[in-house]
């Protein structure tokens, strides 16, 4: 089975803050990691390979340093990695990103039977690139997959919903976004870590993908960030005391004011 996993390198969002003077992100010293949900997609790919054989290729689009995320994926057991990187791809929103990644997948020598994504990336939380890529490749797609098993014609899939789950059958080839509950990424072994360190990872740029220029980068992105600002500071805590009934009346009033009831 040929498996493609799309991963994103993200800053460890717990550690990102905003400078309240300049409204810029403080990313200095914040470590970059593989988007945690993409780890679940990677593990699902590795388990499918363990059981059914095949090859796992990881693809990431980002700046040159995103190669580190690909190296990490290799150390966990992926077979191949490709970086999509070009200045011209910079500033892409999810539309342009989906388009660009789909071109890279089309360029693969052997077309995948299955493409896996994390359910969303923790920096943007958009959850849009998976469905976008699937559309550009004209593949059927299911989101929030917890378990995927190959069948004769395609896959049997457990898809998580708000109040339970659904079982779907889907034709091959297909694309999925994977939830956290699916699995836990295995640890790298030392041997794979060392091999990953030395691995040659090709970078595919503008000339390799030959995209329609108005579909990529900033120009290909319908959405624009108009402003970035710090979230409202958490209001000072309010301590209520006194008669329970009065306290609760006041609490409910305050919760209503905060728009949370």
């Amino acid at each position: 089975m040929n498996i493609v996993v799309c991963i994103k390198q993200v800053p460890d969002s717990d550690k990102v803050t905003i400078d309240r003077e300049t409204n810029r992100l403080n990313r200095a010293g914040v470590p970059s990691i593989i988007n945690p949900f993409d780890e679940n997609a990677l593990e699902m790919a590795l388990q499918l390979k363990d059981k059914h054989g095949g090859k796992v290729t990881v693809i990431s689009m980002g700046p040159p340093q995103a190669v580190e995320a690909l190296r990490t994926a290799l150390s966990h057991g992926a077979d191949d990695a490709i970086l999509i990187s070009d200045r011209k791809f910079g500033g892409a929103d999810t539309w342009a990103t989906s388009y660009t990644i789909s071109l890279a997948i089309k360029k693969l020598e052997v077309q995948p039977d299955i493409i896996l994504f994390g359910k969303q990336a923790i920096d943007g939380d958009t959850a849009q690139v998976g469905p976008g890529v699937a559309h550009f490749l004209d593949l059927p797609m299911l989101t929030y997959a917890k378990a995927v098993e190959p069948t004769d014609a395609g896959f049997k899939v457990e898809k998580v919903t708000e109040d339970g789950y659904e079982i779907w059958e889907i034709d091959k080839p297909a694309a999925f976004t994977v939830v956290k509950e699916a699995n836990q990424l295995r640890m790298p072994s030392l041997k794979k870590k060392m091999a990953a360190k030395k691995a040659e990872i090709p970078t595919w740029g503008f000339d390799d993908l030959n995209p329609i220029e108005e579909n990529i980068g900033l120009a290909g992105s319908p959405t624009k960030v108009s402003k970035i600002f710090a979230p409202p500071v958490k209001l000072n805590k309010e301590i209520l005391s006194g008669e329970p009934a009065e306290m609760i009346t006041e609490l409910i009033q305050k919760l209503k004011e905060r728009n949370v009831l």
Partner: protein
């Protein structure tokens, strides 16, 4: 005005317990916020002859913070953390290890003592001279305390500094208390059993590991060191325990030994495998292959990443020579991966606690029986054989894990009923005798508390205990402080 001493009522019920799961009783409770509060509480207790039990975060597992009547002097609200100057950090006793670590990390520094329970308070850590995995290289809490303030039973406050306040031979003076140090021999291994005594010693060391029996520590100055530039961790899985023990010897004797060497026996791995499938809280543990039998975790710290890598590679070669497959290991090259391996380590005692709690439902008196004994290097294989033989003969469910670098593993016996519990207890006592004979300690890091009092006697004999009691009486003639701990 001093913090009010409150009459004990049900709402404070949680303060009757610590992580030993033992429950006690109390008549009064006070949440001290300052030295003055502590001093006032002690004076009042002394006047009324109330026994005083000192508490921090109550994460100890020897019932050291479980009150036996009288006043609870709770220090958990006395938790301020000062500024760092010259790699020194002054904190109050209620400050938690995790908070201290965060404060140090912000300055690129670290506080090395690393008990597995990071929500322990520094006061508690100091009281039992706590240690952890990295103690193998960095030493226990004692080595990282530079000075402290202690309030004595009479209400007097004394400040002691390492290198400044020393005993003259056997004679010592602490505030208005003077006397002779007890005449007892210290074990040659890592130990948290009883008072620490040495001719010409730093007097601060009398109060580290004293389990609240000599005074109440109200301020601690910690020593910090720069964080290493590179950290590598590796969990290696071996096909049998013999190979794993050989690997421990190899690591320990290598030119640049790791900072930590940890052990997980077959039963520990089996328990984690089971928990991973049965309990959602353990679902995040990495998958373990079925041929993994015994695991060794080790960690290297250094400033040269390449040199570190070479050390790890060298260890990996030995690992394979001893029969582990080339992929039979988990490698952690960054903080996040190290965290995963540490979580795995922490999961072992958590899993045991969970199992005990389940069994408690059928048999409420059950508790886990956990050993905490260390032996000299030469006895490692012998002590492991002793544990396995004893457990096999008694047919008890158990796991063994812990700080094997210091020949200090925890055997956790998980009894199914009171009959097994009795069997386990007998076994434990038998082991304690043998460990003492090997030159070991009956408690390497948890302290004696109330639970291990008979073991302390076993280790130091009637005479040794009598010597320690003499010291106790000099500082606390009314015997109000932490009654039931140590003696």
């Amino acid at each position: 005005m001093a913090e009010e001493i409150k009459v004990f009522s049900d709402e404070y019920e949680e303060y009757l317990r610590d992580e030993s799961r033992r429950s006690g009783s109390a008549d009064r409770i006070v949440f001290a916020k300052s030295d003055a509060d502590v001093s006032a509480a002690l004076q009042e207790a002394s006047q009324n002859n109330w026994p005083v039990t000192i508490q921090g975060a109550r994460t100890g597992i020897t019932a050291g913070a479980v009150p036996e009547g009288g006043l609870i002097l709770n220090l958990s609200r006395m938790k301020s953390i000062g500024e760092i100057h010259d790699s020194r950090l002054t904190v109050q006793p209620g400050a938690l290890l995790t908070e201290i670590r965060d404060a140090a990390e912000k300055e690129g520094l670290m506080f090395t003592p690393d008990p597995t329970e990071t929500s322990a308070s520094i006061g508690g850590m100091l009281a039992c001279n706590a240690s952890g995995a990295c103690t193998f290289s960095y030493g226990p809490t004692r080595d990282w305390i530079n000075s402290l303030c202690v309030v004595l039973a009479n209400g007097e406050t004394v400040r002691l500094e390492r290198g400044v306040d020393k005993a003259a031979g056997q004679r010592f003076t602490v505030g208005t208390v003077t006397g002779e140090l007890p005449d007892i021999a210290m074990p040659e291994v890592k130990s948290a059993a009883g008072y620490y005594v040495k001719e010409g010693m730093d007097l601060i060391d009398l109060f580290i590991g004293m389990e609240g029996t000599l005074g109440v520590v109200t301020e601690v100055e910690l020593k910090l060191i720069p964080q290493p530039a590179a950290v590598n961790g590796l969990t290696a899985f071996f096909p049998d325990e013999e190979a794993a023990l050989k690997f421990v010897r190899f690591l320990r004797e290598s030119a640049a030994p790791p900072v930590a060497i940890e052990f997980f026996d077959f039963q520990a791995l089996e328990l984690l495998r089971r928990m991973k499938t049965e309990n959602a809280a353990f679902a995040e543990l990495p998958e373990m292959q079925s041929h993994f039998h015994t695991a060794i975790y080790f960690e290297f710290h250094g400033d040269d990443a390449d040199a570190l890598e070479e050390q790890v590679m060298e260890a990996a070669e030995m690992m394979m020579e001893l029969g582990a497959g080339e992929d039979d290991c988990w490698f952690a090259g960054d903080a996040r991966e190290i965290e995963t391996l540490k979580k795995f380590r922490h999961s072992t005692p958590e899993a045991v606690n969970l199992l005990i709690d389940q069994r408690k439902k059928a048999c409420p008196e059950l508790t886990k029986l956990g050993t905490d004994m260390s032996v000299p290097d030469r006895e490692l294989e012998n002590v492991m054989r002793m544990y396995h033989d004893g457990l096999a003969t008694a047919g008890l469910e158990h796991v063994i894990f812990g700080h094997i670098g210091n020949n200090h593993v925890h055997v956790n016996i998980i009894p199914r009923d009171m009959d097994e519990y009795a069997k386990g207890k007998a076994l434990y006592l038998d082991w304690a005798e043998k460990v003492v004979a090997m030159g070991g300690s009956v408690s390497a890091e948890h302290g004696i508390g109330k639970i291990k009092v008979p073991f302390l006697k076993l280790m130091f004999g009637e005479d040794g205990i009598a010597e320690m009691k003499k010291l106790k009486e000099l500082f606390d003639p009314q015997w109000i402080l932490n009654q039931g701990n140590l003696f």
